[in-house]
Symmetry: C3
Subunit: 210 residues, 3 copies
């Protein structure tokens, strides 16, 4: 297992837990919980694979990911009261997930020989669209429109990644520093209620949520 597969696996765990917690808080039935965990964890990567043309999509040939998601659902179920009580848990897992998946998406774009701007876009797609599809399924405004500095953090991580290529940082360091950049930006954005500068006159924008 190489470094990128390991990061992918960690991201899958983070998003599967976050998806299952979201489903528990919506009181879905057991099968609904599995679908939500699966869509949150595999949705972004599935869209990325389809856009590039990697088919059958990754999870279909990687049973480890499928079993990982199922195990995460069971473990999350057992500890759900404890996890849901900690109001920040869902945020924590989601933030780790977007950091890790941004790097995985970037790397897949590079492997396909695509332009840096497209690679960064694929990083954002991989990180954010699992949550977007999850939100669409349960009929909510998608996460990228509700939370300022969400996709923006992934974008920043992607830019940092390519800057590190310019200055010659080693590949495995690039992975970790870029992922960590995403996580830190998102973390501080929520901690200090950062948001992108508004260009509207009155103050009617949607407030940032968790």
């Amino acid at each position: 297992m190489n470094v990128i597969d390991f990061i992918d696996l960690l991201g899958t765990v983070a998003f599967a837990v976050s998806g299952a917690l979201a489903a528990f808080s919506k009181r879905l039935d057991p099968f609904g919980v599995i679908i939500m965990a699966f869509v949150t964890a595999a949705g972004g990567g599935t869209l990325r694979d389809i856009l590039i043309g990697v088919q059958p999509v990754s999870w279909m040939l990687n049973m480890n990911l499928v079993y990982t998601i199922l195990i995460c659902v069971v473990v999350t179920f057992i500890f759900r009261k404890w996890l849901l009580k900690l109001r920040k848990t869902l945020f924590l897992f989601d933030t780790i997930g977007i950091g890790l998946y941004t790097v995985v998406g970037l790397e897949m774009g590079l492997q396909a020989g695509l332009h840096p701007v497209i690679c960064i876009t694929l990083g954002c797609v991989t990180a954010c669209f699992g949550g977007v599809i999850r939100d669409i399924l349960v009929n909510e405004i998608p996460v990228i429109f509700r939370k300022n500095i969400y996709a923006t953090a992934c974008l920043a991580g992607g830019v940092v990644y390519f800057l590190m290529i310019k200055i010659g940082v080693l590949e495995n360091f690039r992975f970790f520093i870029a992922g960590f950049t995403v996580i830190l930006i998102r973390f501080f954005a929520v901690m200090f209620s950062w948001q992108l500068p508004s260009f509207y006159d009155t103050g009617e924008e949607d407030p940032t949520r968790f």
Copy 2:
């Protein structure tokens, strides 16, 4: 025409009628009705084809399916008052549809040489996601989250299919028994208001409909 093509055609008829009836009950205009019938009948198979990498997707190379859907819309239109009066008609066609499409999806996964768990997933996707996309288009909570024992019935049919491979049942029998399993489970689930065991304390889950 082989057995699986025939089952596919029957499933298309069932879902096209169910989609058109749903559109009539929403009072969509003629073009909206055609889009709804088409999405309901072809949506699940389209997603399955894209996930596996069968492109152009099946219906693009199979004009019979396209014409079948258009004829179903016209026939459903002519008999719509009679069909809508029978409150159970929509349920009946939808149930037959998921039974047939589960088998078609399974078979396509097997042909692509995928793992049994993935084949069963593809059966569920083929059967359920036409309805899911239809519901998303008209801004409703998707069918799989509203109705307990919906995707679960497809899952059970898939498991039965692979058990029959183990005990050596002939292919064509497997198709019919697995499809029939899905239909029976869904039918009894609605008849006797079955639902998956709840793991929440209070009773606030979404009630099953129908």
Copy 3:
């Protein structure tokens, strides 16, 4: 750059402006505006490419389209107060967009050697589904169900295109006449409040907007 690439570029400009205006009117943050412009401009073509199997999808290999969308967002931002005041601007850009994209979609279907009915469908998908995905993302009833004579105009343009092949009109003329047909039908439909004949008894259909 050939004629079809030029039409594609013009359509991209029209839809990027229309998507950005829609995002401004929803008061999204800067990143949300870019996502909306991008989805509106590239969504229909992306779905078309995925259905046919053109992967990586077109915009991933065409940085001109990506930069065009970003420039449109900036220009629309600068002139947004002026553009939004003209209540018909959004409608105008959207109408030009569906006319141009219908032709692009038709042409891609022909290049892939698909049946005329499928080519016309691909024209409608290319023209309408960017708006549909945009509407789903912001949790609205998709445009094709809200506005009568929307997808229908694209369908008519497609039929006109194939009639012109029959009577031997030159390719570049076909492009412009078919695109112009779509724009004219949509324009007159809104001007004179055309809608498809209703087949319901009472008058509860969704009113056409604009």
